[in-house]
Symmetry: C2
Subunit: 152 residues, 2 copies
DNA sequence: CGGGAATAGTTTAGATTTCAACCACGTTGC
DNA sequence: GCAACGTGGTTGAAATCTAAACTATTCCCG
């Protein structure tokens, strides 16, 4: 086995800062959304994606892709969101296997309230503490990561 | 209630790219570590932090902080890692409430093997697809996030 | 010293997530 | 047509994670 190409000290520090900082940031946002609105980050994410979709509806597979969740997980989570009245699923007429997930008015209202608080957290702990250039760099970087992931 | 300070289009794009890209990146790393080495990312993280600690041992509370996990979760995960022989817990003589978590030789060997593959993934999907400047920006940015989180 | 508050860690129960199996429908090719 | 395979989505059981309660010890302060 050949020696792996370890990261150099600079790369290592950056990687670690990211791993650590992003984990703690996500944890904070999760707790904040949960205590103030009773939503987990992944539930919130589902509502966001639906709210942006045309007609506020999306096929389950697309929603899974947009929300970065497995289909199985999405099924379970949507079942919960549905029982709370925030989404509503129905069959796709053109493909009888398919299911549309619709954001209800109640779900949209819930999202609207949650988003107002959430954006404040995103600002306070990320946007406002990072220079515009560095934020732009993050955007570029993770766009590149996504593009790379979309290939093999 | 006053109108929230929404993100502008540029900030929004950067934030979204990060949320999406980092979620998918973590998921990939988790699956990779799991299939190739039977370790989740959070188990891996625990082994990493222990390996870097003096004497390859850390108090549970410190380990929880370093690995960005709740104490409860750490207890459960360490129990599992202990049953697999990768760590070994014992009591702290100076503080009888305390517990040291030790990395075993077997755990170190496991980590060593996993890290060789893991670094390759980190390179392939992040370090190698991002410019050095952008990587440095990520480091700066998340250092700032950590610093902000450490205050209230 | 003694009692209350804080800290370290574990445990239990309940919620969520993963994994594999599964059903239903659609697509392809013969 | 129809058999084999692929896709869309759900389900149930097992693994993991969270939240709250609990034990044990230490700290603080009168």
């Amino acid at each position: 086995m050949t020696e792996p190409r370890w990261l150099d000290a600079t790369q290592q520090r950056a990687w670690r800062a990211y791993v650590d900082g992003s984990a703690k940031l996500t944890e904070l946002m999760d707790r904040d959304l949960k205590t103030r609105h009773g939503l987990s980050v992944s539930e919130y994410e589902i509502l966001v994606r639906l709210s942006e979709a045309p007609g506020r509806r999306l096929r389950m597979a697309e929603l899974a892709e947009h929300a970065s969740q497995s289909r199985s997980r999405l099924s379970h989570t949507c079942a919960r969101l549905e029982s709370k009245g925030f989404v509503q699923r129905d069959h796709c007429p053109s493909d009888k296997r398919g299911v549309f997930c619709n954001l209800t008015d109640e779900g949209f209202a819930k999202l609207d309230r949650a988003a107002r608080d959430h954006v404040e957290v995103v600002r306070t702990y990320l946007v406002d503490v990072v220079s515009p250039d560095d934020l732009a760099a993050i955007g570029r970087a993770f766009d590149a990561v996504r593009a790379r992931l979309d290939r093999g």
